[in-house]
């Protein structure tokens, strides 16, 4: 194979690190920055960071040509609100004419024939899709280790996981391989990797964003959510993706507030937290301390910060795993080798085709959840598991609603530990499931929640903090998250100034 070396002068330059799209758009207007340059920059970064395994497929040529189109629109003054936004999408989001396989062999060489509503809305505002990103197979996992493409690595420490299931999406933003990512969150799959990678991740209210084009894991839990470097970008992406959609009957018809224009938190908030999250030894010391520091800071700023009891929270993980696996077992039945995707070459009759196809092409975690879900829905165990879990879900929802009658926000850590070592928990699914202990509540009840960075532990691994808000309370949640981020930065600045003194 001939090695062709050629120089593209504009390829070799470094861009400053942009935290927000607003900064990018300012430079696009005034500083000679172009979308073509941005795309080249990211393509270069992706290439030099290929060991992170963040992207499954990169659309280099397409991104370049789209960038040129957007640049022309910028000149004409016809560019959309996301001009300059170079984005990666998790490999569970349908994008017409592009591969889509939920990091699974069962969808080997499958091409999406239509585009997800959320993705289309970003494209319509001139976002540039640079590629699809690694994740846990069918979004089932908390470490990105359940991917048929192999694990993605945490950019802060390559021996650690990036979290999951939207691991590749979080790393990509952490390592600056794209400006933002689109993930999906069924039990914490956006927020947990965002925390592990030190970026912002939002799970909106259930039904805020159309699920059309999102490969279903657990339909009554799944939410598409953005992963960004700033709350303001998350707010803008959310605002653009949200709203009614004729292709999804569970999406809300509620009007979408201008989240990005409402990021000016004023007044005092009533905040609840659980004392145990500051004391329980299963939670890492650094996380407990940093969580306490945030609560103390908020108290010092005059907010009402109150410890509360939410007794049913103990039942959250079992409830979550019973209901999500039940739905998953049914949602994944369509991957049967009959119409598309992998079909076992070994099949000799109908039954062996089903069995061999699904055994060969689904990974162990997906098979485990399908079996678990089939079990809890089977006639003899239905009432003991499924019916009971549905009832608990309703009770937790009621309890959560009661909580939000008294409080504006619920604050907790995002995860009990920072990013763990690759391979550390793969042998023990239950340990792995515990990684979601703080995030599943928002999915069980449907409320919105956001993970924002909250410093680092002593090994330098990122820590996140979670703010959960009332159902469809995104507007205030985002404003408060933005405020809290700025408050943290202010304190950090003061701290470093003191250190200098």
């Amino acid at each position: 194979m001939a090695l062709i070396i050629y120089l593209q002068p504009h390829k070799y330059f470094t861009l400053k690190e942009y935290l927000t799209l607003a900064e990018i758009q300012e430079d696009l207007r005034e500083d000679g920055l172009t979308c073509v340059k941005l795309v080249e920059h990211y393509l270069q970064k992706i290439e030099s960071s290929s060991h992170l395994n963040a992207f499954v497929e990169v659309y280099a040529d397409e991104a370049r040509s789209t960038a040129a189109v957007v640049d022309a629109k910028l000149v004409n003054g016809t560019a959309g609100r996301l001009a300059g936004m170079v984005i990666g999408i998790k490999d569970v989001l349908s994008h017409k004419g592009h591969g889509l396989q939920a990091a699974s062999q069962i969808l080997d060489s499958y091409q999406a024939p239509f585009t997800a509503t959320a993705v289309q809305r970003l494209i319509d505002e001139d976002a540039i899709i640079i590629g699809r990103q690694n994740c846990d197979e069918f979004a089932m996992g908390s470490s990105n280790e359940n991917s048929s493409f192999g694990p993605a690595l945490n950019a802060a420490d390559n021996s650690k996981v990036p979290g999951g299931s939207s691991g590749g999406s979080a790393v990509a933003v952490q390592a600056g391989l794209c400006h933002a990512s689109l993930g999906s969150d069924t039990g914490g799959s956006v927020r947990q990797p965002a925390a592990f990678c030190g970026v912002v991740g939002v799970k909106p209210s259930y039904g805020r964003i159309s699920r059309y084009g999102l490969i279903a894991y657990a339909s009554s839990f799944d939410c598409i959510g953005p992963i960004t470097k700033s709350v303001s970008d998350a707010a803008l992406l959310l605002e653009i993706m949200s709203g009614d959609d004729d292709y999804d009957s569970t999406v809300s018809t509620k009007e979408v507030p201008a989240y990005s224009a409402s990021l000016n938190w004023e007044g005092k908030a009533r905040i609840g937290y659980i004392q145990d999250t500051l004391e329980n030894e299963a939670i890492s010391v650094d996380i407990r301390q940093r969580t306490k520091a945030v609560l103390d800071r908020l108290r010092a700023e005059g907010h009402e910060v109150v410890p509360v009891e939410i007794p049913l929270l103990d039942s959250l993980l079992p409830t979550y795993y019973i209901l999500t696996t039940a739905e998953a077992s049914s949602n994944l039945s369509r991957f049967d080798g009959v119409r598309y995707g992998h079909r076992s070459a070994e099949s000799t009759d109908l039954e062996s085709m089903y069995k061999k196809t699904r055994t060969e092409a689904f990974g162990p975690e997906v098979r485990r959840r399908i079996l678990l879900g089939t079990f809890v829905l089977s006639a003899n165990y239905y009432d003991a598991y499924y019916t009971k879990a549905q009832r608990v879900r309703r009770l937790v929802r009621e309890e959560t609603n009661r909580f939000f009658e008294q409080f504006d926000f619920f604050i907790s850590p995002v995860t009990p530990t920072t990013a763990f070592t690759i391979g550390e928990k793969t042998e023990d699914p239950l340990q792995m499931y515990l990684a979601d202990v703080f995030t599943v509540q928002a999915n069980v009840v449907g409320n919105p929640a956001i993970a924002v960075p909250n410093g680092f532990d002593q090994q330098g691994m990122p820590i996140g903090i979670q703010i959960m808000a009332p159902y469809f309370g995104e507007e205030k949640m985002l404003a408060f998250a933005d405020y809290l981020t700025r408050l943290n930065q202010k304190v950090a600045k003061k701290y470093s100034e003191n250190q200098e003194v």
Binding site: A112, Y212, S220, S249, T250, R339, S347, D349, S378
Partner: protein, 514 residues
Amino acid sequence: MLWTARMHIFVIAFSIIMTQNTLQPADITDELLATYETVIGLEVHCQLLTESKLFARDVNRFGTEPNTNIGPLTLALPGTLPKINKKAIEYAVRLGLACGCSISRKTTFDRKNYFYPDLPKGYQISQDKKPICENGGVAISFKNAEGKTTDKVIRFHHIHLEEDAGKSVHEGDQEETLLDYNRAGTPLVEMVSEPDLRSAEETGAFVTEIRRLVRYLGISDGNMEEGSLRCDVNVSVRKYGAPEYGTKVEIKNMNSIRNMMRAISFEERRQVALVESDGQVQQETRMFDVDNGQTYGMRVKETMNDYRYFPDPDLSPVVISEEWLSAITSAMPALPHELREKFVNQYGIPTYDAMVLTDTKEIADYFEAVCNKTPAYKTVSNWLMGPVKSFLNENGGDIALFPVSPQSLADLIDLAESGTVSNSVATQKIFPVLLAEPQREPKEIAATNNWLQNSNTNELESLVDEVINSMPDKVAAYRKGKKGLIGLFVGEVMKKSNNTADPKLVNQLLAKKL
């Protein structure tokens, strides 16, 4: 484009092995059979004539090229989501209202999970917990064992909505199974009856009434041959007076009401033979063999399915508001019994006529259309039950194939009623011409052929004179008292007039001249 699945579907057919000592169905005498009560319940599936499918935007049409109406949702591509077809809800509510069901104001959909190649999602969206209609029923009229017409109401347990599956096609000795997904996602209503039926005749009347009803409601073509109306029949037998039902057997695969009745007649004898031989009826699904008129057991390799029903999380409950319900109610088409009453009261035709004329909505509509053009309602009824019916009987029975427009038929009836043509000319001469050349006008046909009834007295008088002059002997005999000869003279005049003379007038003129 055909989807080929490399697979076999194992269906092991076997028949009950009979020993010498056991009774055969044919051994069961009518007397013995009469000591048993047959208990029958039905599940009637009926495809709805909506433009699009139950949850997808694909066209819902029978008979198109294989795999042409298959969008991403129908093929269950990843990321697709169902959206309920409001028209299908309205059609189901229409049916529920017609059957006096209680309509669920909040109806939900459930997933019925099983693997089969013609089921793209690996589950069927159906209704389990809260079907759209509950209770209600259908009134039937049938001839009982003594030949007496009997009325009875067959109750429904519920009516629910669900999506149809695709079709597996096996061609010749091909090992492959071909899959056609056009039908996948077609809206169905399933009517589940209580076990209220007691004979093949009742069951036939029940399905006939349902077919008539769905056609009247305009929600289905009710065509059993094409599979848009399908029945699963649950049959059991018990000695009269027995407190418990016998073990039931489900029969499938009957493509006409007649075959369904044949299947029941065979099955009740088969079960009685089993019980009489101290055997046990086995709970199973049996198929009907059209050729030998028998049912046979089938076993699919899999054991009993656990369908793992659970609420479909992709579909919110459908709320049927007061406004929506009243809009559906006010748009309800007239039902057969309502039309019967209307025909008797408004058009003054006999009840028997009304029954016959409301047999199908198309005939009833035609009758009304003609009645809008002529006031001779009873005559219209006579025409439809006489010459028109004969034509239909010879031509497949479908009024859609009747070429004469209501206006033309009304014109023809008016010609006869006014005496412009005689009744016999209308039915035996003009009508056949009209059938062959329906675009012509009856009056023009009569005129062209010189069939207009002749009432011109002068012209007739000369004809009468001619006849009298030509048969002096007969005239003399008549005048001597052989009054019966008048018929001969009338006949001769009619002949000379080419049958256009008014016979009454001819009689009068002859009487005067003679």
